[in-house]
Symmetry: D2
Subunit: 100 residues, 4 copies
C-alpha cells in the first residue's frame, strides 16, 4: 500500500529553536531513500506504507536521542485504491485547474 | 517506545455519512486490544508504537475493503522519554490545575 | 456557519510540562460560553465559526501572556450544509453502528 | 499577531477528485493578497491572524458554494513573540544545518 504523508515533528522541552531536530529528521528520510519535500510547516513523503512508517519511528527515536524529552507529531496519511498518483501529480492537478 | 495517538480517519468518495467506516476502525482497535477512547473528532489511543501503528494500517486496509477508494487521515503522535504518563494522567493534570 | 473544531495547542520553549497552558485554554473556552469537551489529545468545540475562532485567537494570546514564546497549534474544522449535527450526534452515530 | 498556517481542506461527499475545490481555495488566498505556497498535502500561508482566518473562512464558504456538502479541514497555526520569522526563514534555518 502506497502512502502520501505529511510529517510535522515538534520537539518539546528544548527551547524555541528546533531546527537541528528537524534537520535530523531530514537526514533520516534521506537515509531511508524516501521521496520527500520539506516545506515551511512539515515534509511531504511518499513511499510504501511500512517504509514511511519505519522512517517516522526513526525520526522520533533520533530526536529523542539528540536530547528532546518529549515530541508531539502531526502526521497526515493519504491512501487510495482507485489509481496511483505521485505527490507531483497532486500539485499538477490543482495548477492545471488554476490555469484554465 | 510507548505512544499516545489521536486518530481521525476521513474516507473520501463515499458520500457525507461515514459512520460505518469509523465504526470499523473502532472494531480494529478493540480487536488489537489497545486502550482507546473515541471523541467527536477522532480517537485517543495508547500503546506500544508498533502495535498502535499496525492497528492504524489495518484501519486503512479495512476502510478500503469496505468500499472507500480514498482515505485522508490526520494522526497525532506523542512520545516522551522523561517519564511514563497515561492518557488519563494528561486529563487529570489539566483538571487539577482548573480546580485550584 | 456552525463549526465542529478540535483544538490542540502546543506551547514551545516552556519545558515539557504544559498543563497550566492547556488549563488556561479551557478557561478561555468556558468564558466564551462555548460547548467543549477536553480529551487526552485536544478539545472538541462546537459553535458559530466566528465565536469559535475568536476563542482560539484568545487561547494563543493568553498562552503567550502566560510566558510561552512560541505556540504550534493543530486545529480540525468541520462544517456541513446538508444538515445540522451536534458533537454528541457524531458519537451516537458511530456507537449505534457498533451496537448492531 | 502574525501567524504561519498550513491549511488542508478536504471536501466530502463529492467523490475522490477534489482538485477543483483546492483550486478554489488557491483563488481565495490570491484574492486575499496573502503570501502562500501550495505543497502536495496543503498550503503554507503567512500573514496577520485576522486576515489569514478570514481567508480560511472564505475557503469553507466557497467550497460549500461549489457544491461540497461537508468539509473537514486540518489547520496548523504557529505564532511566536520572541522574534519575527518568515516561512522562508524556517526552511533556510533547517537547510543551513543540513549543509554543515
Amino acid at each position: 500500500m502506497k502512502v502520501h504523508a505529511d510529517l510535522c515533528v515538534i520537539p518539546m522541552g528544548v527551547g524555541v529553536s528546533v531546527g537541528e531536530y528537524i534537520a535530523e529528521c531530514q537526514r533520516v528520510l534521506c537515509e531511508a531513500g524516501l521521496t520527500h519535500h520539506m516545506h515551511a510547516y512539515g515534509t511531504n513523503i511518499e513511499g510504501e506504507w511500512d517504509e514511511v512508517m519505519a522512517a517516522i519511528k526513526q525520526c522520533h527515536e533520533r530526536v529523542h536521542a539528540l536530547g528532546a524529552p518529549r515530541i508531539s507529531t502531526t502526521l497526515k496519511l493519504g491512501t487510495r485504491t482507485d489509481r496511483s498518483q505521485s505527490l507531483q501529480d497532486k500539485i499538477d492537478s490543482v495548477e492545471s485547474k488554476l490555469d484554465q
